[in-house]
Amino acid sequence: MKESSLIKNVDLFLDDKPSVYALRDRAKKCLFDYGFPTKKNENWKYTDVKEILIRDFDINQKQCDGECCCKNKAEDSYFIEFCFCAGTLHVEDFVLPEGVNVIPLPLMLYEGEYKKYLFNAFDLKKHPFACLNGMYLEQGLCIIVDKGIKVDVPLLIKYKNTKSDNIQMNIHNVVVLEKNANLSIVEEFYSKVDNSYLLNIVNEIYLKENSELNHYKIQKESKKAYHIALNALKIYEKAKYKQYYVSNGAKISRNENEINLEAKDALAEIYSAYKVSKDMLSDITTNVNHNVLETSSNQYAKAVLEDGAKAVFQGKVYIAKDAVKSVGNQLHKALYLDGDAELCCKPQLEIYADDVKCSHGASCGEIDEEQLFYLTSRGIAKDVAVKLITDAHLNEIYSLIEDEVIREKFII
């Protein structure tokens, strides 16, 4: 493997515990065997990470920016809040509803009970940045919702980096919804306008029979940030996963979903709304494996692309030989603002079963001149009119969110 300055020697908590060391070592070996992705790697064809690999990002050693909201349930809060400050989980003392267990990753590693959920929802070999993440396995949350528990307060996980520059943050979360459980999780990423860092996050999510997870991801980060995320899922019988993602980009942003539909009537829906500005790259890559019969997936993304922006939308739907009567849809709609933007849209259908319903589509358009005329002829400034029209384009995604408080947060 080529050297990368992202790989550092650091002392990690519990490195002296063989079972923990073994996990990290497994990830490290995998990374050394398979290497970081290059453009030759089909899955990374359009997203060149070279500029990340040469950066000498420090491993963050627990510096808090001092601005944390340290309470996890403020009296008047709509959410149960957790905060990663510059990559470090800040509160460890949680007040939680009955049946909801939140364990900081170090404690989870120490106790070992839930370790079976680590590196289990995805294949390390196929996810080099998840290997990097695994090497540094230390920061993260493990969220377990017990059988039959319907959690009516959404969890809000904030990832903020408002002070630190030039660091890498590796965060690894595990979410398990036991049978018949329900949960909403909001992930909110934000930083200063111009700090540069790598945020490398892995979420391993297990949805047991008939459980439901609404996963909201809001990304409002620095134009110089690098954001690499993997959401890896195993979804079991009748369980439902819905992801709503909004982003106004980063220098390079990749939101990757690796979804395994493991039992009948499992469902995954991924809704994305994103804006990309000049010199930024936004990549949404989703790989849905319909491993058994009668499973469904839907991917719908809407993009607004400014001059000089690059967007990548890769959606792969794999339907195994026995996965008859499965449904897999994907659709991408882009709106170009004036100038040149690059859009690489790669739908992929790999179908080995008969009697399935699959579709994919892509459309791109420019701002409608008639609409723009109508708005400006009412005195509205051109830039405001453009914003109204682009917001309207993305609004179709926001409007799918039922929770008003969360929907408000999505507006970018």
Partner: protein, 252 residues
């Protein structure tokens, strides 16, 4: 004499390579209502676009002076803020943009230009509801997206509502009567008549005398092949309705 509100002198305008306005002159004073009638394809809507500054309608010669200022130097939004309003023959649908959000942006842009305070949501909504009510507009319509799914008549009412809110000094109403049922025609006409005052003026583009019996014009123009070929008072519209365009076109 006071300066006219609008003076158009020997205006020529093209769309692409095609000349559509071919030497049009027109003066409109404050307090006046002008009607413009003319055959399909004569260039009436094009004239309205030229006046509001729409991209693609290019003035090749002539001048347009509005309130003593050169209108042709202004962008679409500047003209609107100065008081030019165009009620479109075919209002545009904008899915995803809510009616009240749109109107609030619009009204506040105009107010700001006039040095007035911008309205907050509460006061804006009060005003909007009361204006909508007097035009017989169902408040449910204010929750929808701009023109999306509006019937032909609803679209025209909505154009009138915008005019009532913005109180422009010069309104061009391009076939405001098309698609309106008899009751709606009355309501919309009343709306327009209520707005008439000594400081503003209207240009009504229409094919039918009926509208002019509700909104009585001071001047009537016959517009054909890119210019005004005859000007008269309201009796000209009646004559036109009886005889059609043939006799006027021959005279030319």
């Amino acid at each position: 004499m006071t300066t006219p509100l609008l003076v158009i002198k020997d205006l020529h305008a093209c769309v692409g390579d095609k000349e559509i306005i071919k030497g049009l002159s027109l003066t409109i004073n404050k307090g006046e209502v002008h009607a413009m009638m003319g055959p399909n394809g004569a260039g009436k809507s094009s004239l309205s676009y030229v006046l509001s500054g729409k991209q693609g309608y290019e003035v090749t010669s002539g001048e347009i002076v509005f309130k003593g200022k050169n209108l042709l130097d202004m962008s679409v939004e500047e003209r609107a803020r100065e008081g030019v309003f165009l009620s479109l023959q075919y209002p545009v649908e904008i899915p995803g943009v809510g009616v009240s959000n749109f109107l609030k942006h619009s009204l506040n842009a105009v107010r700001k230009h006039n040095g007035e305070e911008e309205l907050d949501t509460i006061n804006f909504m009060k005003l909007l509801r009361s204006e909508a009510n007097s035009l017989g507009i169902n408040p449910e319509m204010l929750k929808r997206f701009v023109n999306v799914g509006f019937s032909g008549g609803e679209k025209k009412r909505f154009e009138t509502l915008q005019m009532a809110l913005l109180k422009p000094s010069f309104s061009i109403l391009d076939e405001i009567d098309s698609g309106l049922d008899i009751d709606a025609l009355k309501t919309v006409s009343e709306g327009v008549n209520n707005l008439r005052n000594e400081d503003n003026a209207f240009l009504l583009i229409t094919h039918y005398q009926r509208l002019l019996s509700y909104i009585v014009p001071d001047v009537v123009h016959i517009f054909a092949d890119g210019k005004i070929i005859k000007t008269g008072d309201k009796s000209l519209a009646i004559e036109l309705e009886e005889n059609g365009y043939a006799s006027f076109l021959k005279e030319d």
